[in-house]
């Protein structure tokens, strides 16, 4: 059985929080190039609250994600807060009441998550947002589920896809939509929201 049980999900979330904490300056710097420079702080504020709320013995597979989601929704100092809140909410809902995350369940969560973020933020792939990492990760998980890839490996594939998506934002000059004001100034550096998504999937790997 390769599925992710509540304790494994908890460890994943804890590793994610720690990793963002390590990288806060770098993320803030990225937001300074393409936004207003508060992304790192926004993330850490939410994640510090999430950490305080994480139950050491989560009741179900969704519990840790639920804490994450609520913390982001309660915080929402910037655009990323509520979007991450709704994204993690889909992971929480997928795991709610269940004993573990299968690859199929992860694929469901990722698909619903990116759908929620796209619906709420009206960003498409290529707009230089977190969606540029979320969408390929969701696709990777969907493919893995179809091919019965076990959850831990599926997440490694998702992480690779998310990272590639995040990297791709370095060369995007958004011409339409919300990122259009950024222009060439941000060229060469990735979108911080997309990088955070990649860090999330990379944190699944505890080895």
């Amino acid at each position: 059985m390769n599925d992710l049980e509540p304790q494994a999900v908890l460890s994943w979330v804890e590793r994610f929080i720690a990793r963002i904490d390590d990288r806060v300056q770098e993320l803030t710097e990225l937001d300074r190039r393409s936004g207003d420079g508060d992304f790192g702080t926004n993330m850490v504020t939410a994640l510090t609250r999430a950490k305080a709320k994480l139950s050491p013995s989560p009741a179900d597979a969704g519990a840790a994600f639920s804490s994450l989601s609520t913390a982001f929704l309660e915080h929402s100092g910037g655009t990323s807060g509520p979007l991450f809140g709704m994204w993690f909410r889909e992971f929480a809902l997928a795991g709610q009441g269940g004993p573990a995350f299968s690859t199929a369940l992860l694929a469901d969560a990722a698909r619903n998550g990116v759908a929620a973020v796209r619906r709420l933020g009206s960003a498409s792939v290529g707009d230089r947002t977190m969606v540029d990492a979320m969408a390929p990760a969701a696709d990777a998980l969907a493919e893995a589920a179809e091919n019965d890839v076990p959850a831990v490996r599926a997440l490694r594939l998702a992480a690779e896809a998310a990272r590639a998506g995040a990297d791709s934002t370095s060369s995007i000059i958004a011409r339409r939509g919300r990122a259009s004001y950024v222009g060439e100034a941000a060229l060469g550096a990735p979108d911080p929201g997309a990088v955070a998504v990649a860090l999330f999937f990379e944190s699944a790997d505890g080895s």
Binding site: T70, L73, E74, S76, G77, P82, G85, L120
Partner: protein, 332 residues
């Protein structure tokens, strides 16, 4: 320590003010601390549609000053110029819902729209209708996929009309439809004579060269669409009013609600004199003033300047406008 401000820790200002508001309203309002929202504590009629609004703080008396009989059932304040969170909005929505549904009056800003939308999604069974207020003509660009016009002073009229309709017992879609009619027929233009200073800061949010007026500003201390030379008040007021009247296509025989709104530190003398000029301009077009508000209702901290809002009025809306209202900032 910041200049010309009465603040302790700037981070605490909003909470302290909400506590002060609750104290000064002696049982007519209750401030729910966590999540933060302000809710009517008078004898609210049960089984009415809830009317809820919210947004960043720093615009007082908006929105908390409009909570009470005949207007808002609750208001959800964010930090200064920052949207409240979805969790706050959700909690307030639940608190005001009687089962007949809740109208969300939302000023069109990305953060507000996002958080109200999310709140609506996570509020489960509660029936929610959203009335988007986007009256700011200065941001009426046709950029595809752009954020659209900002929501400014017209929100007061939307809250008043929705509140009155809900108090009369109208159902959810009726209240929302009325709100949308007000919002859809409202346009505003604003100008700044001096930028605002954020709590704890010592310099204004932008510099205005001597002799310049920032035209087409919003309510968050941001620059406007262009700078124009200072001119006599009547000319500046005309520069605000004419494009608004044109955009609404006002013509002889039309009637409007007028809101001459101070942005923070513009004196009532100036606002009253500006209102006089608005009536003259409307007179010249053969447009009647159905009702009016002249005062500082939707502020941008201590910004000096004003906005002129015109809203097409009809008999039904005038009737609802005239319904009694009892709030901290509006009572008749």
């Amino acid at each position: 320590m910041a200049a010309h401000q009465l603040v302790n820790d700037p981070q605490e200002l909003v909470g302290e003010a909400l506590e002060g508001l609750e104290l000064s309203q002696r049982g007519r309002l209750r401030w729910n601390r966590d999540p933060s929202f302000v809710i009517r504590a008078d004898d609210r009629r049960p089984y009415k549609v809830g009317v809820l609004s919210g947004g960043g703080s720093g615009h007082e008396p908006l929105h908390t000053g409009f909570v009470g009989y005949g207007m808002l059932d609750a208001a959800v304040p964010g930090a200064v110029f920052a949207s409240p969170t979805a969790i706050q909005i959700q909690a307030a929505t639940e608190a005001v819902d009687d089962g007949r549904g809740v109208v969300h009056v939302v000023k069109n800003y990305t953060g507000d729209v996002l958080n109200f939308t999310i709140a609506a999604e996570i509020s489960g069974d509660i029936r929610i209708e959203t009335v988007l207020v986007d009256d700011d003509l200065a941001t009426d660009t046709s950029v595809e996929g752009g954020p659209g016009r900002r929501g400014t002073a017209a929100v007061v009229a939307v809250e008043k009309i929705c509140g009155a309709a809900a108090e009369r017992g109208a159902d959810l879609s009726t209240v929302a439809t009325l709100g949308r009619r007000v919002a859809g027929n409202a346009r505003t233009m604003s100008l700044a004579l001096r930028a605002c200073t954020h709590p704890g800061q010592s310099v204004p949010s932008f510099d205005l060269e001597a002799g310049q007026v920032e035209f087409g500003v919003g309510i968050h201390g941001e620059r406007g669409v262009r700078q124009i030379p200072v001119a006599p008040a009547d000319e500046l007021v005309a520069a605000l009013t004419e494009p608004v009247a044109d955009d609404l296509g006002l013509s002889r025989g039309d009637a409007v609600f007028v809101i001459v709104n101070g942005l923070g530190s513009t004196h009532q003398l100036e606002l009253l004199a500006a209102y006089r000029q608005v009536t003259r301009l409307l007179d010249a077009r053969g447009v009647t003033v159905a009702r009016q508000l002249v005062g500082s209702y939707v502020t941008a901290l201590d910004m000096a300047g004003c906005s002129v809002t015109l809203i097409r009025a009809d008999e039904e809306l005038v009737g609802l406008w005239d319904d009694p209202v009892r709030t901290a900032a509006l009572t008749w």
